[in-house]
């Protein structure tokens, strides 16, 4: 891996994403953790038949959040580039205001796997950590347990869940150093930190890139080993 991970443009950062790629991206619930420029670049790049692993199905396409224009992976669904979504919160809160995902789902254009949020996080974490599967408390006795192995351990029932990995992770962080060490802001850390480790190739969209030594090593959240490409917004 090159020691300096900076790439000059978002277009260049996503140019090798092939059709059929599996891509992780955060966007927990708002604009903060969303790799918006990478999403726009991927829309322009045009790769199709994508699988998106994310907390949501893309809340809205284009919108305004906290006074700022905001983009989610909903625009990739609107452009017909997505065939499958693995998410915890795929539809809008209100059935009367369906999001792009739900419209495409109702037209039969996109498939979905709905996963409890903690299980989604843990499956992604496992994917980055060489853990193939694990037994969790969550979902026992619910539809989430369908077709899954249940195992009683120390008198309590657990579901077996498999790791999730991806071809790419699109990460949104606050600052990076040239070696790919990342810091986040507030609640935008969320899935970003986990996804950075779980993909074969991780691309980080950041506000600022500084020289190594300018980030507090005690506060680096994603060590550079997980990051392949860095692009400044």
């Amino acid at each position: 891996m090159p020691v300096d991970k900076v790439v000059q443009s978002f277009a260049q950062a996503v140019e090798d994403v092939p059709n059929g790629a599996v891509i992780m991206m955060d966007g927990f619930g708002g604009a903060g953790g969303m790799p918006q420029q990478l999403i726009l670049a991927l829309r322009d790049q045009g790769a199709r038949e994508l699988t998106i692993i994310s907390n949501t199905g893309g809340l809205v396409g284009f919108g305004v959040i906290a006074g700022q224009p905001s983009v989610t992976h909903g625009i990739l669904i609107e452009s017909g580039q997505v065939k499958r979504v693995i998410a915890s919160f795929p539809v809008s809160r209100s059935p009367s205001q369906p999001n792009p995902f739900e419209l495409a789902y109702n037209r039969g254009e996109v498939d979905v796997e709905v996963v409890p949020q903690g299980t989604l996080a843990e499956r992604i974490r496992a994917g980055g950590a060489g853990i193939a599967a694990f037994y969790t408390l969550t979902g026992v006795g619910t539809d989430a347990a369908e077709a899954k192995e249940t195992r009683t351990i120390d008198g309590r029932d657990y579901l077996m869940e498999y790791a999730l990995t991806a071809d790419y992770a699109f990460i949104r962080a606050s600052k990076a150093d040239h070696r790919g060490n990342l810091v986040y802001r507030g609640t935008s850390r969320n899935f970003n930190q986990l996804m950075a480790a779980a993909a074969r190739l991780t691309i980080a969209e950041v506000d600022e890139i500084v020289e190594p030594g300018r980030l507090d090593p005690e506060a680096v959240i994603t060590p550079g080993v997980y990051v392949n490409r860095l692009v400044k917004r």
């Binding site: 927990f28 619930g29 708002g30 604009a31 903060g32 953790g33 907390n55 809340l59 959040i65 906290a66 006074g67 700022q68 915890s88 919160f89 795929p90 539809v91 809160r93 059935p95 739900e102 789902y105 109702n106 979905v112 709905v114 996963v115 409890p116 949020q117 903690g118 299980t119 989604l120 996080a121 843990e122 992604i124 974490r125 969790t136 408390l137 969550t138 979902g139 026992v140 006795g141 619910t142 539809d143 989430a144 606050s174 986040y184 802001r185 507030g186 609640t187 935008s188 850390r189 969320n190 899935f191 970003n192 930190q193 986990l194 959240i221």
Partner: protein
């Protein structure tokens, strides 16, 4: 039943009364979010959100929205001293690991055994699980805050949930706009009623048979 029902703020106030000093509490989207406004003076409650924050402040209300400081419902929060941020795996490790003292959630249905259904309406084809299943599995105590009946006036407290389950036997206490009901090993125990309501009134809009607590009283705030 056309007797007057409690409004959302009063339900939230009643739930807030259940929170003890030093409790770590997770508030769900909607009515549960209101609870933090009504915690009695002198009690410090520490809020947890699946968005990856512990000890957050009140909802932001003055147009100073920070997109990097949100709760699980995407609402903007104010910072307070003593916060900590962490990733989603850690946020849910806390939940499953048994570190959340109280979870407050809304519900479509609660069964007499404390089963909870709150994530999916079957006719929609899919739904949002979010963090609810994790809270159902891991929180030490779960309080449901909801209207007692659905929009058609039908009971939401039922013998058996017809909606897809969020968790089995996970609910401890149900606070509605007409009653406070405890889930016990021997069924539902009616403990408090709204002003003007009798136990019979509550039973009429509740599917399973309620046991009546010896100390049944009006909802106290």
């Amino acid at each position: 039943m056309n007797k007057p029902r409690l409004d959302r703020e009063v339900i939230a106030m009643r739930v807030a009364n259940e929170l003890a000093d030093g409790d770590y509490v997770n508030l769900g989207i909607g009515m549960p979010t209101l609870v933090s406004q009504f915690v009695p003076e002198g009690r410090t409650v520490i809020y947890h959100s699946e968005s990856g924050v512990l000890n957050y402040g009140p909802l932001e209300a003055e147009g100073k929205a920070d997109v990097d400081l949100i709760n699980a419902g995407g609402q903007f929060l104010l910072p307070v001293p003593g916060m900590a941020f962490f990733n989603a795996a850690e946020a849910f490790a806390m939940i499953r690991g048994g570190y959340i003292d109280v979870s407050v959630l809304g519900a479509f249905q609660v069964s007499e055994r404390g089963d909870l259904a709150n994530w999916m309406l079957r006719d929609r084809g899919t739904g949002n699980i979010g963090g609810a299943m994790d809270l159902a599995a891991g929180a030490k105590r779960m309080i449901v805050a909801m209207e007692h009946t659905d929009t058609q006036g039908g009971p939401k407290i039922v013998r058996q949930c017809s909606f897809p389950l969020t968790g089995r036997g996970c609910v401890s206490l149900i606070v509605t706009d007409v009653a406070v009901i405890e889930v016990t090993p021997s069924g539902l125990l009616l403990k408090e009623v709204a002003p003007g309501w009798t136990a019979e009134d509550v039973q009429e809009i509740t599917e399973p048979t309620l046991r009546i607590d010896a100390g049944l009283r009006e909802i106290a705030l």
